[in-house]
C-alpha cells in the first residue's frame, strides 16, 4: 500500500468513525423524549 493509500484510508476511517461517534454522543446527550399525553391519538 502506498503512503497516499494509507493517508486516504486513515482520513476516511477517522472521518466516518469519529463522525458517527460525535453524532450518537450528541443524540444521547440531547434532552429526553417528550412523552405523549395519556390518550394521545384518535
Amino acid at each position: 500500500m502506498t503512503t497516499l493509500g494509507w493517508i486516504f484510508m486513515t482520513v476516511s476511517l477517522t472521518g466516518v468513525w469519529g463522525g458517527t461517534f460525535w453524532c450518537f454522543k450528541k443524540v444521547l446527550q440531547s434532552p429526553a423524549d417528550e412523552k405523549a399525553p395519556p390518550g394521545f391519538g384518535p
Binding site: 484510508m9 476511517l13 472521518g15 458517527t20 453524532c23 443524540v27 440531547s30 405523549a36
Partner: protein, 531 residues
Amino acid sequence: MTEHKEEWGSKLGVILAVAGSAVGLGNFLRFPGQAAANGGGAFLIPYFCALFLLGIPIGWAEWTMGRYGGRKGLHGAPMVMGAIGKGRLARYLGIFGVLIPLGVSTYYVFIETWTFAYFLKYISGGIGIDATATIAEQTAQSGSFYSLITGVDGDGMLFTGDSKFTVISWVVVFAINLFFVFKGLSKGIEKFVSFAMPIMAVCALIVLIRVLTLGTPDPTLPDQNVINGLGYMWNPDFSALSNFKTWLAAAGQIFFSLSVGFGVIINYASYMKAKDDVALSGLTASATNELFEVGFGGMITLTAAFVFLGLSGTAGAVATGSFGLGFNTLPVVFAQMGALENVIGALWFFMLWLAAITSSLSMYAPSVAHLKEATNWSHGKSTAVIAGIGTIGAVLTLWFTAGGAFWATVDFWVGTYFIFVLAMVQIIYFGWVFGIERGWKELHQGASIQVPTIFKFIMKYVAPAYLIIVFVGFTVQSLGEELRKSWSTTGSRVAMLTIAAILVYLVIVTWVGEKRLRAAGVDIDDNNPAD
C-alpha cells in the same frame, strides 16, 4: 375500530430505522467494487463531495418535509408532497415516493432470500465447495450453488428440484417481513432494528477483525497479504478524477446507499412529533450508513478477496459486479479459511441478511401508510392488501429468473432512475416552492444542532444543479441501452408491465385519497400552513 396513532417510541428508534433502511447490501458489496473500479482512494473525493452536497442536504429536506406533513396528519409521500407543493402536481409526483419502495420490495426480498438461504446452508454444513480443488474448480462449484439459489439459468427454475429451497426460504423471509410490518412502527419495525443494527455491527466487526488478521496465508505468495489487499482498495489513482463517469458513479453510490429520494425518510419522519429534532437525526442516520459503507464495506470485501485470489482474481471478481462478488467469489474466499469457513460464511450472510431485512421492512411502510390515509382502512387491512401486491410481485420475480432480467429491469427503472426523479422533485419543491427560508426555519424547529448556513445555499442552488447534471449524465449514459434491454426478454417485458400496473394502482389510490381527505376537511393543499 379505533386505532392508536402511529408514532416512534424514541428518537434513537427513528434514527436506527432510517439508518437500517439505508444500510443494505450495497454498503458491503457495491461500494468497494465502485471504489476499486473508479480510482481507489481517489474515489473518496467525489464520494464525500456527493455526500455533503447531495446526500445529507436532500436527506435533511426529506426529514423536514415529512415531519411537516405529519403535523398536518399526512403520512404518505403523495399527500405530504401535495402539502409541501401546495397542489395536485406535487401530489401526483409524490407517487414516486410510494412506487419506489413498493416496486423495489418485489425483488429486494428475493435477493434478501439469497442471503438467508446462504446463511442456512452455512450453519448446516456449508455450500459444497471443496477447498482442496483448484481455485477455478471452486469458483465453478460456487457458481453452481449460486445458480441453484437464484434460478438465474432459466425461468421457472426455482420451482424445480433442489431450487425449491429458495422458494421455501422466500416464504419464511416474506413472513418475517410481514410480521414486523403488521406489528406497526414502534412495536414492529423500531423494535426489530433496535436489536438488528447493533447485532449487524458486531457481526461486521468480527468479520473485519478476522480479515485484518489474515496476514499472508500462503507463504509461497508473499504479495497476497492484507496490506496489499487494503492497497488494492485504497491506493489512489488521481487520473480517474478527470473522468466524468467517476463523479457520476460517486453520486450514484451516495444516492442508492443513503435512501434519499426513496420515499422512506419522508414517511418515517411524518410520525415524529412537531418539536422532535430532525437536523441531528438526519445527520446521525447518514453517518451510521457511512460507517457501515466506508468503515466496514471498504475494509472487508476486497481485502479478503485479494488475500486469497490475488490481483487478477480480485479484479475479475469486481468485474462480475456486486452479486458476483458477494455470492460467487466470497464463498470461495471463505473456503480458504479452513475450520473457520462455515463460521465466517454464516456470520457474513447473517450480517447481509440483517442489512437487507432492515431495508426491506422500510419498503412496505410508505405504501401501507398511503393506502391507510387514502381509504381510512385499518392498519391490518392495509397491510394485507400491500402484502397481496407484494406477493404478486414476488411470484413474478421468483418465476422470471432467467438472467435476472425481471428484477434487473425493476432495479434500473424503479430502484435507480426514479430515485433521481424523486430526489429532484423533492429538493426543487423544498427550496423553491415551500421556500428555502421557511424550510430552513422548519429544519431548525427543535433541532439539537445548528446546521451551517452554507447549507441553505447548497439546498437551494447547489444540490438541484448537481442533481440535474448527474441526472442528465446518467440519462445520456444509460437510458438508450436500458430502454432497449427493458423490452428484450419476456422477463424484462413483464417487469415493465408490472411497474405500469403498480403505477396505475397508486394513481387510483391517490385520487381516492384526495377526494376522501378533502371531503373530511383535511387541508391537503396546505392553505393554512402549520408552521
